[in-house]
Structures are given as structure tokens and as C-alpha cells.
């Protein structure tokens, strides 16, 4: 006969009210961003950081790397469009930057031009062959593996995509890049330059990158009474229950800060594709 035990209290189980078990996150330590990402970017995700000119993409990406480096991670920035020396000069104007992170090897900055030179893949017509693509992927893999990089930024993926022959090659390149970075546990931001054309903003120039990436964070501007306000919206983030509201981004002395954008205070005519 089975006798029910008396006075046995059921064990309390803490459940996430939204269900499921959360993935381990790479905290951005950016004021307000971890809140809307529900703790940060899932480790190993490749995120497309898309936005128009002057929307704050590079600043956000650099702050993500610097905050990681300050917390003991080894991080890497690959500059595609401008010399890294110029980029570092600009960085020194921000209060959150610390030169010692570079000298101590916590923040590694590379120029894609120099990587291309060393690989011998610099082409006069500016386009990559499939062999060049393999060499470049191999070089990225070596950097991440040898330096034990846990945070990587490629600025910009758009400039690399311009050198790939077609959309299939772009899809293949980003997919394979994301795949090996995930196996190394490296969380990556790919910066995507976008334009607003007739009130329509895309997530990328080629329309392929966002489909392959694990996450899309869209940065842009809204007009209010003639003033331009920087905005940010997490469009997708695999493995995170995130906010999809549009946020205001402001550059403060301690770095970027993100607060919810007033609903009536934004241009509602813009369309995203």
C-alpha cells in the first residue's frame, strides 16, 4: 500500500515566466541595451548592426568591444573601410576608451587591407575569387583561434560584400563565417551600411546578410521638429527574448545610453524591408 508522506512541502522551482531556458549572454555593458536584449547578446551569435550614416554603429560596436576587454575578454576589430590608426584617433575622443587595452592585447585592431596584402588577395578590380574568399575566411579563423577572441567586429561587412561576385557568394561567406565563429564561442557584430530611399530603410545593401545573421540591430535617425534623434531597434536576436520597441540612443560622457523612444515623438512614415 502506498502511504502519502505527510508534511512534505513541494520543492520550489524557479521558472522563467516567459518559458524556456535562457542562453548564456555576452553582456554589452551599454546602458539600456542589455535591458532590451534581456541580458545581452547570446554567446556565439553573429549580429548584423545595420544603420545609416552617422547613426552610431561604429561607436556602439567599439563600446561593445571595449566593455568586453575591460571585463577581461580578448576582442578584435577589423577595419575594412578606414585605416585603423585613424579609427583609433577618433576613439581616443571617447571617455570610455583606454589605450592600455590596445597595448595589453585586449583590444586588437586590424586593417583588412593589410590582411589582404599578406594573403595576396588584393585584386586590382576589387573583387574576390572563391579562392580569395577561402583565404580570407581562413585568416579570420586564425585570428579568432590564435588570439582566443570572444568578441569580434567587422566594420563593415558591406564593403566586403561589394567584393564578392554575387548574392550566393555573400550568403555563403556570411553563413560560413558565422558558423566557425559560433564554434569558437565568439560573438560577432557585422556592421552593415544602409541607406534610406523614399522613406524605406533596408537592413543591408544586398538584402542577403540579414537572413543569414542570428540577429539584426537597426540604427537610424528620426526627425522631431527638425532635430535628428539617433534610434536603435532590435529586429531579431536568435536565442533572446528581446524588446522590439524603438529606442533613443544618446552619446553621454560614460558612453552610449539607450532609453525608450516616445511613441508619438517619432516619424511613423518610415518603412523597413
Amino acid at each position: 500500500m502506498i502511504v502519502a508522506e505527510e508534511n512534505v512541502k513541494p520543492k520550489r522551482v524557479m521558472l522563467d515566466p516567459r518559458g524556456g531556458r535562457p542562453r548564456e549572454k555576452s553582456k554589452t555593458y551599454i546602458e539600456g541595451l542589455d535591458r532590451i536584449l534581456n541580458g545581452g547578446i547570446p554567446i556565439g551569435n553573429t549580429t548584423l548592426l545595420a544603420g545609416t550614416v552617422g547613426s552610431g554603429k561604429t561607436t556602439l560596436a567599439m563600446e561593445y568591444l571595449i566593455n568586453g576587454a575591460k571585463n577581461g575578454e580578448t576582442t578584435c576589430y577589423i577595419s575594412v573601410t578606414e585605416p585603423s590608426s585613424k579609427m583609433l584617433e577618433n576613439l581616443r575622443t571617447y571617455g570610455f576608451f583606454d589605450d592600455s587595452l590596445v597595448t595589453e592585447g585586449k583590444l586588437n585592431v586590424f586593417d583588412l587591407g593589410i590582411i589582404n596584402d599578406r594573403l595576396g588577395v588584393e585584386r586590382l578590380d576589387g573583387s574576390y575569387t572563391s579562392k580569395d574568399m577561402e583565404a580570407l575566411l581562413g585568416a579570420f579563423e586564425d585570428i579568432v583561434d590564435e588570439l582566443q577572441i570572444t568578441r569580434l567586429v567587422i566594420d563593415s561587412i558591406t564593403a566586403i560584400c561589394y567584393q564578392l561576385p554575387d548574392k550566393g557568394a555573400i550568403r555563403n561567406f556570411i553563413f560560413r563565417l558565422g558558423q566557425f565563429l559560433a564554434t569558437f564561442g565568439c560573438t560577432t557584430m557585422l556592421i552593415s551600411e544602409t541607406v534610406v530611399d523614399a522613406r524605406t530603410q533596408t537592413y543591408s545593401i544586398f538584402g542577403v546578410e540579414e537572413a543569414v545573421a542570428d540577429g539584426v540591430i537597426l540604427m537610424g535617425n528620426v526627425q522631431r521638429q527638425g532635430d535628428l534623434l539617433r534610434t536603435l531597434q532590435v529586429v531579431k536576436m536568435r536565442g533572446a527574448k528581446h524588446s522590439r520597441s524603438r529606442q533613443l540612443v544618446e552619446l553621454t560622457p560614460i558612453g552610449l545610453s539607450i532609453v525608450p523612444l516616445l511613441k508619438w515623438g517619432q516619424d511613423t512614415g518610415q518603412v523597413f524591408t
Binding site: D227, L229, L248, L262
Partner: protein, 185 residues
């Protein structure tokens, strides 16, 4: 009862958020009197100004010998009018339309306050009507009021009686714990 006495009573009774409706004649001296009094009681403070440059308010406070040691400012006007923008105790907002920046800067300044308790003075709600559309302003006041309530600092929303529409007054009465106005006649 004087406005200052009503503010003190409101703090003692545990209010989090009050509206202080001042008539235009009393507006400047009374707002300065309230700030001076609260600072003398060892409260830290954040003064958000939408109508006058912070430099002018600091000068007024110095004139009455207020202790400015733990008082900080969010200035929504000086950059717009090309005024002095170097004061280290002040966060300058580029344009009075950038309402979200107020919340953000209050958060930043709260980290600098050394006193155990602090107050926030928003001077003035009606001043924002000059720059923002009605529905944006309505939303902002709602967000500001509820954010400040969550932060548990004592917040006063100043409004100038003669420049406060019935709709704005009614909204402030709904959102705040107490609507303080001059009852002396």
C-alpha cells in the same frame, strides 16, 4: 498655507510626486525658496530647467546663499539659445524636443548625488508646451511621472498657473499625489 509649507508637508506625508502650481508673480522667488530650503535640509537635488538657462538659476540661488554642494542641473534651454554650456554640474540637452534625454540625464546625475535622499524639480511643465506637440508632451509627462515614481525620489513638477491649460492641469492632478497651489488668496 504657504507653498513651501505645503511642499514640506507633502514630503513628510510620504508623497513621491507633486505638482506645484505657481502664479507668474511668485514663480521665480518661490521656486528658488523651495530649492534653498530642501538643500538646507541636507537633501541632494536635480533641477531640470526648460524655461531659463541653468546659469541664471545658479545665480539666483547664490544670491540667496543656498548651499549648492549637491545640486545638479539638466538644462534644456542654454544650447538652444547659445548660452554658457561649460558648467560641470549641468547636463546640457541639445534641444528641448529631445525629451527622452531628460530621463537619461536624471539617471546619470542620480549617480553623482552624494546625499542619502534627493529631490527632483522639473521647472516647468508648461515651458515644454512651447516646443512639443500636445500628444508628445502628454506622453512624456506620463512617462516622466511614472519613471520618477519608480525611482522613489521626491519629484516636484512646477507649472505656471496662468500658462497651464485645463487639460494639462487635469492631467497633472491625475498623475501626481498632490496638486499644490496658493490657497492664501
Amino acid at each position: 498655507m504657504s507653498i513651501l509649507k505645503q511642499v514640506v508637508a507633502s514630503i513628510k506625508e510620504g508623497d513621491a510626486l507633486t505638482t506645484v502650481a505657481l502664479n507668474s508673480d511668485d514663480y521665480r522667488p518661490t521656486s528658488i525658496e523651495i530649492v534653498k530650503h530642501l538643500l538646507s535640509k541636507k537633501l541632494g537635488g536635480i533641477y531640470i530647467t526648460t524655461t531659463r538657462p541653468s546659469g541664471s538659476i545658479i545665480a539666483d540661488l547664490k544670491k540667496v546663499k543656498a548651499d549648492l554642494g549637491d545640486l545638479y542641473f539638466v538644462d534644456m534651454i542654454s544650447l538652444t539659445v547659445g548660452g554658457e554650456t561649460e558648467d560641470p554640474r549641468t547636463m546640457f540637452i541639445e534641444s528641448p524636443t529631445m525629451l527622452e534625454s531628460v530621463l537619461l540625464n536624471i539617471g546619470l546625475l542620480e549617480r553623482r548625488i552624494k546625499s542619502k535622499r534627493h529631490f527632483v524639480m522639473f521647472d516647468s511643465v508648461n515651458g515644454l508646451t512651447i516646443y512639443s506637440e500636445k500628444r508628445v508632451l502628454k506622453e512624456f509627462i506620463n512617462v516622466l511621472a511614472n519613471t520618477m515614481r519608480l525611482r522613489k525620489s521626491y519629484t516636484m513638477m512646477i507649472t505656471v498657473e496662468e500658462q497651464t491649460s485645463d487639460a494639462l492641469a487635469s492631467m497633472l492632478k491625475t498623475l501626481t499625489d498632490r496638486y499644490i497651489e496658493n490657497t492664501d488668496g
